[in-house]
Assembly symmetry: C2
Homo-oligomer: 447 residues x 2
């Protein structure tokens, strides 16, 4: 059913105070659709809608919503009801939610929750976000290597509720160290009396808790895993990261790359309000405005050259623009490549060398083109000035787009600093310096 | 083990003609690592390495390689051995590979393959790429609703080899129509004598074969599925798309977005040769070069204004740059948003209205800033010219970055056309027209 129709039906049920019909309807919905419905519903109906839902449904709903709306729901429900919801939420989602809540409120929620739930989630919250520990869930089922398949299946059945998104059972030894893994498929294929020892996979690939989330995502993608276990320094199993969380990581990383290329500021989507979007975009724009004024200062210092050969101005926007364009192209290759490639010295040096050659090739092609245009329009020397300038600025622009993000990446700076607009603005400055520099030095041939 | 060490060891085994040791080593490797090893190995060793591998290992290897290297492997092996490898490859990977091969060769391979394998893969190849049909595999296990769990597990066991990456059994009726789905987890939790009818999930979400791959990916991401069944118009089950393929779709889509923002040309990564990379980048650059020359023509037509107020030049790079910057920011929001949002009329109009307001806000802030700077540097009227120009160009730049990609998207044009550099170059032209237009109309106050 369409969200629109669902919304109308929901409002009808709310007005008729028909709790049963509403619950029957929401029971059929996937959590994602439930969240879509909640977003579509006018705010004045939110409270009543929530009171009509079962705790299970509210938990499903909250796990799908974005942080601001999650907090809205909690506030509408009050501490007591909220803590009940929190008890049934997945621990990793709950940890993310709680990390958004103010210090004081957090205490209240944690103490209202069930004791062991509260402890587990606090443990999860202790890991930095964007690491394996930060995105893992600690809801998994472990078994012993001396179990039979029957034992394993029994244990699995008794923890069935915990294991909604889980596809492997993990085998640990007496010290809780991870020693193997068995998939549901293995269990189905085995005889009930076989030993776990004989069917388990021993060479388990696991990651330490502090591993960067991007690395975890790469691992799962490369090996087509459904989940990867997370261990501490003693190889003790702490949790698992599942493939659905990894898809979200990939989406976030792509988003970050886009931000790098556009300096568009964090978290602007179709729904962001104009004032908020402007507020997030303005810092970059104001910074670029001042850097852009440097270009003016450069022009100012070449005033003599400009006044003597006004025709120079006409190629200025093209040269500055082209330098920015090739820089953006290189930046895109680097930014995207850093996600999927190793970043050892050899790879990086080879990349820089490759981009240098690219700069020369495109510099020669484009330089020759404008040389011909400028020559026929003005003079041979004028063509030389414009052509050589474009050759030089394209090489420099290409290198700037390659080297600047790599340096920032190496020194561990926020790579958003190496944004497309910044590279473009810097390349504006480089290109003006080169263009008018060459023109000034060849001035006596030009006039 | 590191790829470097593995490479050295492999070369040693090859030189010692120690086939057994090599096979023991490769058997331990995940397909991804095997492919990494093959890439790292100098080309002169490739042939011998391949002859030492088992057919199973070669199939795993080929499925992980990029198209050019896949074809290299096939050529080294010859038709007969290659067709044996193809028989054991996953059908969806094989279909992708065969679609890269020239018409004539294709015939040879297909006739050398086993008859039914060849038929199945030809069927898969008939679906357009980038659709559900194009990315699905037809290796799945179906069961009947009247089966018991025991029957289902028996059937599953006898097709175990087929089901490496598969996590559900699909239930079909006598007309092969899809009527339900059962996960491995459901089978483990159920009693052996229960009927599939009683434990299966009826409201299966499926997609038609012609569904865009991006939609399939969204579906799997939204509902945290591991796979989604693909059906034809009669609801007959044709294949399934699995979550690991969906991750690749997300990576590809992100790559496409990056290309849009940078006009960087298709398929340039760290390994692309300089000549190839230049060849792919140049068409865009040459196009932008000519568009950039239009800026020069505009300046030419304002020559009088320029000669009378030379100071106008100094703010020119900043104004043109800022217009490009805000355009790029808007473009990023639109390009990324189109992936995750619905694109109905209401959403789009709201977005355009939002960006218009954003343009006004940042226009006022930045315009006021340069008004002050220009006023103190030159005069009040000069400040007005620069400030008003920046306000106007920022609004227009923002709108261009929003509306142009949306129009291209709506008319179904290749959205790569709406690239960041193109928007920037167009905005250059708009900004010059506005800046010198305003300056010319206020000329008598300026001098």
């Amino acid at each position: 059913m369409e969200t629109d129709k669902l919304t109308v039906l929901t409002i009808k049920h709310l007005k008729d105070k028909n709790k049963l019909a509403l619950q029957e309807m929401t029971e059929e919905l996937h959590p994602y659709d439930l969240a879509e419905l909640y977003r579509a519903l006018p705010e004045k109906h939110h409270f009543k809608f929530l009171t009509y839902l079962t705790s299970k449904d509210i938990a499903d709903l909250v796990m799908e919503l974005e942080p601001e709306m999650q907090i809205e729901v909690l506030e509408k429900l009050g501490i007591e009801r909220s803590s009940k919801i929190m008890d049934i939420m997945d621990n990793d989602d709950l940890a993310d939610l709680l990390s958004e809540i103010s210090e004081g409120k957090l205490e209240e929620y944690l103490s209202a929750m069930e004791n062991d739930e509260s402890k587990t989630v606090q443990q999860l919250m202790s890991y930095p976000p964007e690491t394996a520990g930060g995105i893992m869930t600690n809801e998994f089922v472990w078994i012993r290597h001396y179990y039979t398949v029957r034992d394993a299946v029994e244990k699995f059945k008794s923890f069935a509720e915990l294991t909604r998104n889980i596809y492997y059972l993990y085998v640990i030894d007496e010290n809780k160290k991870l020693v193997g893994v068995v998939s549901y498929r293995d269990l189905l294929l085995a005889d009930m009396d076989e030993k776990i020892d004989d069917i388990m996979f021993n060479r388990v690939i696991s990651v330490p808790t502090h591993t960067d989330q991007e690395e975890v995502a790469q691992l799962i993608q490369r090996y087509d895993f459904l989940a990867v276990p997370v261990v501490d320094e003693q190889n003790i199993l702490k949790g698992i990261v599942t493939v659905d969380d990894v898809i979200d990581v990939f989406m976030d990383e792509a988003q970050e790359d886009i931000e790098k290329l556009s300096a568009s500021g964090k978290d602007i989507d179709f729904q962001t309000k104009a004032v908020v979007a402007s507020y997030r975009r303005l810092p970059w724009l104001v910074l670029l405005l001042f850097i852009g004024l440097i270009s003016g200062t450069i022009l100012d210092s070449f005033e003599d050259t400009l006044e003597q050969v006004v025709a120079l101005i006409f190629f200025m926007p093209m040269i500055a623009g082209m330098t920015g364009n090739t820089g953006t192209q290189s930046l895109a290759v680097v930014v995207r490549g850093l996600v999927t490639n190793d970043t050892d010295r050899g790879t990086i040096l080879k990349l820089i060398w490759r981009e240098f050659k690219v700069g020369i090739i495109i510099g020669i092609v484009c330089g020759l083109l404008v040389f011909l245009i400028a020559m026929f329009w003005q003079s041979f020397v004028f063509g030389i000035v414009v052509g050589i300038s474009l050759l030089a600025t394209l090489i420099i622009g290409t290198m700037a787009g390659t080297v600047i993000p790599l340096i920032l990446f190496r020194v561990g700076l926020d790579p958003a600093v190496a944004s497309g607009p910044l590279i473009t603005t810097l390349n504006d400055i480089f290109s003006l310096l080169i263009y008018f520099g060459i023109a000034t030095s060849l001035m006596h041939y030009l006039i």
